[in-house]
Symmetry: D2
Subunit: 447 residues, 4 copies
């Protein structure tokens, strides 16, 4: 009798530091190697690039793969479904111990490459293996990985499918079901239905927003909101600054488009803003208007801000880092009067991002917003829609795939619970076909 | 020296029961005569149609106009800006004591006429005087009322302007600034700017959502959300029921439109659903597709639901009353198994409305949703955007009109406060140019 | 090899309708048969006394014991740990099908007797078997039940212990750890430690308040709070009404005591107030001062309120039903002006109870408080401490008993989760030694 | 006609930086000169001791007294009602510009003296004038200041009364009405009633907790809670650390007392812990047991912690700074493993303090608690009662004093609002007898 083993390494007790191992016979595949940023934030003066993995494991910042023991030697591939840090951020610290290629979409690989370059402690020399949505990578005679196109909040996100003789394991972490995305293609429902028809043994799925009722709105709605705020005003001469996730290329594209309609020059400011966006540009994911300006180094940013301030802020739309009030981000520096661009009464600051509900982040945002408001800024918050599936999206995917077993991942117990309740509502039973796993747990499915 | 007197009759201590009197010289104009529904809800078995106004005043359900004394005789017009109950609901109880016409847009008048027809205690025989956005009604040699088109969540909403020799008083209660409405015209910014140029002595303005940061999204966003939910599913054979505000004609129009795209027959069910929508149809505000069905009486609704249930629910989209769990509404009856249309596992129920944050209403909604869920319904909540201006919309209107004085209305003290803070941020001073009024207070402006 | 079977019948998916079956060999014992009141509340005009058990099961109001099948015939005892409705309320509907005695402390039995008397549909003729804390009831050659004294919010609450050849099963549902109770004895820590030494196979334990940090304050604190509010005022001539749980005899005793210190005559008003308190008096649990007055029937209450109102409210302290705004309770009638005792400006109303966080209840409370405030009452809320263990109390009990296995009960999944996390922190493992059960689940422990 | 002028300098738009000027004729008195700490917290690396007052004013951290102009020369006394920073913290920055003595109770003066000693920018050479509750200081022929004993959360708190020929102005900021305090005397109700009889022209009163229903519990309740937590456990060998406000001498006294009952040596650790407590000891406010240990310098604390850790933590009760997670506090250092006292599994940490609801503080607390929990600590939060009056306490004081006018102070607009509503309920009218003031406003009362 065949069996599939699932080992919950990280991300089952918390948001962040995702890592799951799936074994069939004597072969294992790792899905994601992520970082938990808020475990870093509670310490002062940490230089993560120089830290040892064991210290980071003790801090709870990266997955504890030490318990895998000899399984590490059986890993044939490290598969990452998209380029967010909570899915790839531990690669620089852990991947070198695995004799396995890193399999991702090209954009994700580009982000990983950049990450690895910044590492100061370990050498990551794993092979990088690009795989596009719709393609299959034959890992061995027995097992293969397939990428299915899905929507999320970073380009080239996929659902990964591990095909084994005992059935398919679908790894959907993270995703949303957006039928009208603004930049990417809609989810590949056709392929998902085919998978369902062939039979899915197991679904491992993010539970992050499973407590939210209804359906996550399409990115088209975010675009409408952004345009509504930027274009919907009679006060067209004020300074305008937008901040959003640097990796949210679709959103940034909508902002740039609004900028054109406003007759303003879009200016991207910030190291990570450049990194993610220029990479997307080079890979043909996004088009740039001719007049766009991009500045990355501290000096270039300072110069640009001085010039814009002198030439007339009403001709520019600034797109900057700092949506969570990160201490070194561009918006934080502007708010702290560390640049020559001083906030003027009536300037508009648009946060095209949610507030990450973590006390450390909330404190940073509070300090940032307080400083901005004291200088007369008008704040627009949460001009944003989530990239994570809500309860009814989960309901859809679950009923679409009809897996024999389902495991919520990527969340605290409190996030898995609403997923389980939803699964129960469509016939799954806790402990029988829907499983609650904790970091370090192992589940063996005999098929 | 000329003076303008403002008397805060109702709606300054609470949401609901709006009523403001503005006097110039010896002439007075009433703005709104509203009802506070939650003061009715806390009592069981009340038949409001048969109650005396004095009892309703004691209950805090309608404005206390008894303190106006002889001013009542000086009222030359009762002006209502739109057809919501918190602005017109006290007309059947109070208007007959005023020797003055009711001045409203045609749709609002139609709603008032229906309301007056249902009254069992008093005879309302005031003249009905239709006035369209853009028009002016000359009340006397000295004063006149002008209607300026504005967006809200019911057709033909206006901002009313009282022109006096001492300056213009703008009454903006309620409104949003929606540049991309789906059914109505955008706000008449051109006229608002002209008013500003001529000088506005005072702005009386709703404060309801002034604590919400940013800008209220356009109705276009609500339309996108509705279509996203209705069309964005692979499970196209389930029953689908949408419930929304009967008077929100733009929303209902979007739902009907989605219905067409889904290949389903739209069916409007409920007494108030018929009242508001058919009136809008007759007045040319909304178009109906040929296949639409509308049922109003209990018997007709029961028959329709039986037939739909038998013929196949997958061919229909039901648009029903009951978004707040009102005990007699259609959705409530369906949930309580009082009709032959039984909820089936996987049926979708879409609430295209917010939850009114009042414990009585929340209890009704909870009972409704619990019953629906126990029968297997999938719930989509809050597929909706507000019809009330948010903080930055208020900022815009205030800076656009530049009134010498501003008075927040339509809210508890706790709602006026964020308005006042916003006004202070653009230079108004509490007690000097921005005024906090309580029901019964009088303010005299010497111009 | 011996085995213990646990069947989660009710109260594992929700608060209320507690029922657990524990089997050893061929003998079963039922722990609790409770009612879920909020499933009744969502329906209008239900007369529960006349309803059939199957309808109540479908409504989710009582435990679904239909799935027990032939196990029902093996039940040797129905054990109830205290007299709250969520633990005994289903007895009138279910117990008659069991050929087994009802085993409880004398006070609990008195409450059950009263409940059974009100039933209109079924005849409950089970034997009533009183058992006092510290005593053991030998059910059979193999198994016995022991009661261990514990603190809660009703007299004579116990932890029940099922002794089997395979080990002891401890059923601690509900409890708090109060070392300074005002009426009862402190928990029998000595016996709990002995049990621990002998070895506890399993602990079934309420999880209700396991999310609350720290320790639940002692009832002594509640007494201080009550006295602080009642005696701590310079306005000693106003009317004073206290409302609390009728079954919370310790609290009522503290209120009566305060009444004496205030020089006021304590007056108990309400049917359930009489039922619980007079029973406690007759059983010697509470002492009455000589001047106390108790009224139960509508007419007697009406007369008493008229007299008090005439004679001078400043001489009385009213202790009444209605702390959750129940429609027929005494306080609700006073607030609705249905009695001759009219609230006067400055009268004090003390809620010595929490607000039950259920929308139906919150609506009732809101209506009640709104009416009281409109008449000038001053409201003191939440002059109360909980009767349920908080997180650190759970930590203590778990480490004291050191059971091999632990199962959180009496709560939604969301309440079990913090219990599980706490258990993990002291070394238990989910799925291994701490178990998450759902209604209908069965767990077999091989010892 | 006589007039009293009130100038709201600080603390009317915010919590913190309290300062009010009251003038009669040509003489002025300043009440409080406070600091707003959270305006400091949003900046990194600020050394407040070295900063100029004008910079602190611009940051909103201290009252803006620059607008007082020549009134500064008319100030005859600076009166501080108690020793909290939000009432005295700006003295080192502002007092030197006033040719006036600082009038306070002896303990408050001792705290001010210590504060002034730490100042690095300005020289404060104002005369210190001790005044005890019950005493009167004759400022001039016309005006005098009286101190009336009141309860709060620091020793020797008073209500200050300014007697003028035009009537008495009562300044009650901050206070609670505690009839059973554990260390101090109860409020001097007798004197308050006399004042009322003589006539109070105006009451200026903190509004901080006026939104809280009911009555603030007595400090006796806090003592019970502390003892309940410390003594109510079967695990008597674990480490125990309590953290609380260093200036809350009554609380610290209760903790020390519990320590004695537990048979543990109380150890006070932290600079401010020593400062406030030893001062109180020296002034005879608190008694010390013989075995108490107090350490203030970093080195002494480090040594003590090492020794305690070696000798056996079960013999000590640590009372430390750090209840809000302040970066340099003792508890923060222990949590960050910067001392030799390492948290062990099961150690108890008791926060005998509320969480200050400010994002910066919440972030610090979160980081602190996360670190403690990761090391196995058990956390007891909010073992505490407030030192601020709740709504019904305010009701009592207002009706006791019967001032002609009342002004809520010490809070944001949102805090004043519930006070105003309460005042309206007992007959005051907004704008007429209850006044809403903003920083910088002036109110002239003609008597």
């Amino acid at each position: 009798m065949d069996e599939i083993r699932v080992i919950a390494v990280g991300g089952y007790n918390e948001m962040g530091r995702n890592m799951t191992v799936i074994m069939f016979d004597d072969e294992a595949v790792v899905f994601d190697m992520g970082l938990r940023l808020d475990r870093i934030q509670i310490h002062e003066d940490i230089e993560i690039e120089k830290m040892h993995s064991l210290d980071l494991i003790e801090m709870g910042a990266i997955p504890d793969d030490t318990k895998l023991g000899s399984i590490i030697d059986k890993v044939r591939a490290i598969v990452c479904t998209h380029g967010h840090l909570d899915h790839i951020g531990a690669i620089p610290k852990l991947a070198h111990r695995y004799d396995a290629p890193i399999v991702s979409t090209p954009y994700t690989l580009a982000v990983i490459r950049d990450l690895v370059k910044g590492e100061r402690r370990f050498e990551v020399e794993n092979k990088f293996l690009p795989l596009t949505a719709g393609e299959v990578y034959e890992i061995s005679r027995n097992i293969s990985v397939e990428f299915v196109n899905i929507t999320h909040s970073i380009p080239e996100s996929v659902i990964a499918v591990l095909h084994t003789p005992a059935g398919a394991v679908v790894y959907a972490n993270d995703f949303k079901l957006d039928r009208t995305p603004t930049l990417d293609s809609p989810p590949d429902f056709k392929r998902l239905k085919e998978l369902s028809k062939d039979g899915v043994a197991m679904l491992i799925v993010e539970s992050t927003n499973s407590s939210r009722p209804g359906k996550t709105p399409s990115e088209r709605v975010a675009k409408d909101l952004v345009h509504d705020v930027l274009l919907g005003t009679e006060e067209t001469n004020s300074g305008v600054i937008v901040t959003t996730f640097s990796s949210h290329i679709a959103r940034i594209s909508s902002i740039i488009e609004a900028s054109e309609k406003m007759g303003r020059i879009p200016v991207l400011l910030g190291r990570s803003m450049k990194k993610y966006v220029v990479t997307a540009k080079e890979m043909g994911i996004i088009d740039f208007p001719e007049n766009i300006e991009v500045y990355s180094s501290s000096r270039a940013i300072a110069n640009a801000l001085r010039r814009i301030s002198e030439e007339g802020r009403e001709n520019y739309l600034l797109i900057v880092t700092g949506h969570q009030g990160e201490p070194d981000a561009v918006l934080t520096k502007i708010a702290s009067k560390e640049t020559d661009y001083r906030i003027q009464h009536g300037d508009k600051i648009i946060f095209s991002a949610n507030k990450i509900p973590n006390p450390m982040t909330l404190a940073n945002r509070y300090a940032l917003e307080t400083k901005l408001k004291m200088q007369g800024a008008r704040i627009y918050e949460d001009v944003h829609v989530s990239g994570h599936a809500s309860r009814e999206d989960h309901w859809e995917l679950l009923r679409l795939l009809k897996p024999q077993h389902v495991i919520p991942s990527h969340g605290e117990l409190g996030m898995h619970i609403p997923y389980i309740e939803m699964a129960e509502e469509t016939g799954y039973e806790l402990g029988d076909t829907v499983h609650l796993m904790r970091n370090g747990d192992e589940l063996i499915l005999e098929i």
